[in-house]
């Protein structure tokens, strides 16, 4: 297994060094660059071309989410994992919209960070379990309070499959190949899923999948 090249961005020196040491200790991980603010992170990400960017939200000059958005715009193949103090849906959605694949609380245990980086590198979403649980609970409670039937029941088995695979980070093309369908059919399925669930973006779809516990 080849090493995963990582860019680490955090304005807190001790934190950054600690993370760096932690990641370096893992087999197959290599921290290739470190940035102390958002702008530096963008520059280094474009210059060094890491496979995974682990980035803190609260940073001077440019916050982590904005930096993630710029990195994602310039190099969409970069997997981005957000580190955050905030266990809130608003931030998660914002991060997903910016193109991040993982969202991790800063006080997560070591294993979660490693899993998040592996998942992101593999093109999959990953959230701190605390966050997944919170999202799922909030969602369930809302459904209960509103007394509405979950529109998930409206999806056909094929659509559910498409939803899960997309939420796990597969592209439309991946789906077409894996399911033996035409790209057009996959796109139609995706559009139907969004329509039936009243979602408007891939980010919302991922969030939905997390809420439903379809992905973690």
């Amino acid at each position: 297994m080849s090493t995963i090249r990582i860019l680490l961005a955090d304005d807190h020196n001790v934190m950054r060094r600690g993370l760096s040491a932690l990641l370096e200790r893992q087999e197959g991980f290599s921290v290739v660059a470190e940035a102390a603010d958002g702008r530096e992170a963008v520059e280094l990400a474009l210059a060094v071309k890491p496979e995974v960017v682990v980035i803190d939200i609260a940073m001077p000059n440019l916050n982590g989410i904005e930096a993630a958005r710029r990195i994602h715009e310039k190099r969409p193949e970069t997997a981005i994992v957000i580190l955050s103090m905030h266990a809130d849906e608003g931030y998660v959605l914002r991060a997903l919209n910016a193109g991040a694949r993982g969202y991790l609380l800063k006080d997560s245990p070591e294993e979660d960070l490693i899993r998040a980086i592996r998942a992101a590198h593999a093109g999959k979403a990953f959230f701190s379990p605390e966050i997944s649980r919170m999202l799922a609970e909030d969602y369930m409670r809302q459904m209960r309070q509103r007394g509405v039937e979950d529109s998930y029941e409206l999806l056909t088995p094929r659509e559910r499959e498409v939803l899960q695979m997309l939420a796990e980070g597969n592209s439309n093309k991946d789906l077409a190949t894996k399911l033996g369908l035409s790209l057009y059919t996959v796109e139609t399925h995706r559009a139907n899923v969004l329509e039936k669930l009243n979602l408007h973006s891939s980010a919302e779809m991922i969030l939905y999948a997390v809420r439903k516990g379809i992905v973690t």
């Binding site: 600690g18 103090m85 608003g90 931030y91 245990p109 409670r141 309070q145």
Partner: protein, 451 residues
């Protein structure tokens, strides 16, 4: 001030009292004079009539006596002569009595004609006395001559005296009338004087009262301005207070988050590294020591995170108003099981800092109240942006309350915040009907705290 008040009270008392007394006096005096004039004119009338009656009596008695004297002298019959003679005697007594009566009513000016009358009458009676002793022949012989030479001239003289007295009496009436006129003009004079006095006193009083009223009015105006100013200052002070508090919270929140929170996270990572770096044979030992430390730090991280959010939610700055409200709604829902619906219409991401904070804090307090007091099932929060203003409403389906009765710091604080942004806040609630809080915030005006 106090002294001034007492002085003016005294002046007003004396002034109005004097005016009243003057009017009462004028009224009573006028009535008295009128009564006197009426009496006087009555007595003049009465006296005049009385004298007239007496004089007429005298006059008719004079006539009568002449007639009897003539009958006595010229009547040949004996019995007729005797009757006339008795009548004459009776008349004489009567006339004496009438004259004596008149003497009592007499005025000094009448003395002379009255004396004349009396004298004449006496002489008349004296002339007549011997005649009454005459026999029938003597009467027949010189009766006629006596009538012509004595009776008729005397009678004429007496009548003319009576006329004179009558004349005096008439003059007397006009003198009485003149005196009445004098009385009347005196009354008029007094009336004018009292009127003038009343007018003067009234004018003085009016001037004084007007000046006092104007002074009081200007005093009131200046006091009102002072109060208004003070209130404005109070308000701007409280707005500044709110702002300062908010700034402090934000600074504290940042500090907690950036320094304490980050350091704690770093410690966690450091702990992991420490355990990871220990040789395998002692690792479990170190791990055992590290585990409680890690839990402790994790607990602290959570505490710091909650404190940070309580002080000032970073979403407000990082994500904007609506995501921050949504977070709040989820929090409330998580803690109290409330259903919170938030709908936002055309709300811009670029709202002024203070406006966002204001809306956020109002919603925060409202949600706290709902959770604490309302026993509600659901809350609906609507934020709506119009061209010049932002509308906010928070409505619950709880048990409601009596607005007039309960107003704690929470509601007051909300109002204060909104007013600090020159907005307005209304609470509508009734027991059993839920509660609606609606807020209107102008978008362009500067908050008062900045002035």
């Amino acid at each position: 001030m106090r002294l001034f008040q007492r002085q003016s009270r005294t002046v007003l008392f004396i002034g109005f009292g004097g005016l009243l007394a003057l009017m009462v006096f004028a009224g009573v005096d006028g009535l008295r004079v009128l009564r006197r004039m009426q009496d006087r004119s009555g007595s003049i009338q009465r006296e005049f009539l009385e004298r007239g009656r007496v004089l007429n009596q005298i006059r008719s008695d004079v006539y009568l006596s002449g007639t009897y004297a003539r009958d006595y002298l010229l009547d040949p019959g004996r019995s007729a002569a005797d009757r006339s003679k008795t009548e004459l005697r009776r008349l004489r007594r009567e006339m004496d009595a009438t004259l004596a009566n008149y003497a009592q009513l007499m005025r000094p000016e009448e003395r002379e004609p009255l004396e004349g009358l009396r004298r004449n009458l006496n002489e008349y009676w004296q002339a007549l006395d011997p005649v009454l002793l005459w026999g029938a022949d003597q009467r027949r012989g010189s009766g006629y001559a006596f009538v012509r030479d004595v009776v008729i001239p005397r009678r004429r003289a007496m009548l003319s005296l009576a006329d004179e007295i009558d004349e005096v009496n008439r003059r007397q009436v006009s003198t009485g009338n003149a005196r009445l006129t004098d009385l009347f003009s005196e009354f008029r004079y007094r009336l004018i004087v009292t009127l003038m006095l009343t007018l003067a006193l009234g004018s003085l009083l009016a001037v004084f009262a007007t000046r006092r009223i104007l002074a009081l009015e200007s005093q009131t105006t200046s006091q009102y301005t002072e109060v208004t100013e003070a209130r404005g200052q109070l308000r701007s002070l409280s707005a500044r207070l709110v702002k300062t508090q908010e700034e402090e919270r934000r600074a504290l929140s940042r500090e907690l988050h950036d320094e304490v929170g980050q350091s704690l996270s770093a410690i966690l990572v450091g702990l992991s590294n420490l355990v990871g770096a220990t040789p395998a044979e002692v690792r479990s030992l170190v791990e055992r020591e590290a585990a409680p430390l890690r839990r402790l730090v994790e607990g602290n991280v959570r505490t710091v995170r909650n404190l940070t959010l309580l002080l000032r939610p970073s979403m407000l700055d990082d994500l904007g108003l609506i995501p921050a409200l949504e977070w709040q709604g989820r929090e409330a829902s998580r803690h109290s099981g409330l259903r919170v619906d938030i709908s936002a219409e055309a709300v811009s991401d670029e709202l002024p800092e203070e406006l966002k904070t204001c809306v956020y804090r109002v919603v925060q307090e409202a949600l706290t109240n709902v959770a604490r007091h309302a026993e509600a099932q659901s809350v609906r929060i609507v934020v709506q942006q119009e061209t010049a203003r932002l509308l906010l409403s928070i409505q619950d389906d709880g048990r409601g309350f009596d607005i007039a009765r309960s107003k704690g710091l929470g509601l007051l604080g909300m109002e204060e915040r909104v007013r600090g942004m020159t907005g307005s806040l209304h609470v509508r609630s009734e027991t059993g009907m839920g509660t609606l809080i609606s807020v209107v915030l102008p978008l362009r005006t500067h908050p008062r705290g900045n002035e």
